[in-house]
Assembly symmetry: C2
Homo-oligomer: 207 residues x 2
């Protein structure tokens, strides 16, 4: 592990700045400062703000897809798989709180090309096998008639939303609730049970 060179430092700084502030809110000067470099060097390596942004964006897309593939594609039985899935997504959200928020905001607020770029990267690495894998897990659990799409929506919603809406939710439920050391563990257990009893046990053997 060598000391990062300037190019990598700039990318790291740009990532922080773009994720926290979006394209419009990001400042090239702030990126230079964060990277311990100067504006001239940013343009020497990356030419324009847009190009730097797309490099960051692609890396984020790719990383996200990698994580998802890893999580959803594992070989376990249903219940351990589900626990693993929930734990990993929750960990991802808490360790990088800006990321999901950024994806959601930029994909709707910015131009219409972003969703397409995302889809291209998605298809490059997993040609539609995604929902299929979930369906296979559901079958293993005896809930083969439950739609994989709804399953995915439920899991992502329950795991991601509290993390991204936290500044808002803290005002309604009190900061202490989120600050609680066991919050993540409790939430993990809660989501697991919700899925287990609300989907699997409920629909087992359905036609």
């Amino acid at each position: 592990m060598t000391i990062k060179n300037a190019k990598d430092q700039i990318i790291a700084a740009a990532t922080k700045e773009f994720l926290a502030s979006g394209f419009d809110g990001a400042r090239m000067q702030a990126i230079a400062d964060k990277a311990g470099a100067n504006k001239a060097l940013l343009h020497y390596y990356f030419d324009t703000k847009e190009k730097l942004y797309y490099i960051v964006l692609k890396a984020q897309f790719a990383g996200m897809i990698g994580t998802m593939l890893q999580i959803f594609g594992s070989d376990e039985e249903f219940e351990p798989w589900l626990r693993h899935l929930i734990k990993t997504i929750l960990k991802e959200i808490t360790s990088r709180p800006h990321f999901s928020r950024f994806m959601i905001w930029e994909l709707s607020a910015r131009n219409k090309q972003l969703p397409r770029l995302f889809k291209e990267l998605l298809e490059e690495r997993m040609q539609g096998i995604f929902l299929g894998k979930i369906q296979a897990k559901l079958t293993k659990a005896g809930a083969e008639n439950y739609p994989a799409e709804q399953f995915l929506l439920n899991i992502l919603s329950l795991c991601i939303y509290p993390g991204i809406a936290r500044p808002l939710l803290e005002q309604v439920m009190g900061k202490e609730f989120f600050a609680n050391k066991d919050f993540i563990a409790q939430r993990e257990e809660e989501i697991f049970k919700l899925i287990k009893y609300g989907i699997i046990e409920r629909t087992r053997g359905d036609q």
Copy 2:
């Protein structure tokens, strides 16, 4: 219902622009155009972009709180209340897709005063009665030991997330899934069952 005067038209236009693009992305000229007015008039009435933004923001906060109070405070039995709750939130999200996204983004990306402003408006109209009302409903349903905070998290997550993450989710699950005429009705039924079997039936009579 008279024809709106310019001031109201400007506020309406500003609301659209700010919700869609955030403070940084919003353009005063775009607001003027949308309102069928000119920049000079914007400043004649509202002085600065910030002031106009805070007027829009306060109205949005207030509207949101009003909706939530109305929904969560109704007098029904648990199951009709739950159905009503889910239906109303889903309707709100689909009819104003930019709103939740905007709240989440701006409350984290912009300055730290916004969450406080939100909390002040919140407390003005409902001094902590919020979680209490949910707890009362849970008691009615025989699930008095289930934490109201978790209930609120689950409901909001399941109802709101798919709406705000839609541009992203469409790429994973296909546009058709969301475009389906019955998507909302299916989702409503799905969330209802998830809560009913995953929380209420599961925890009934718990210590």
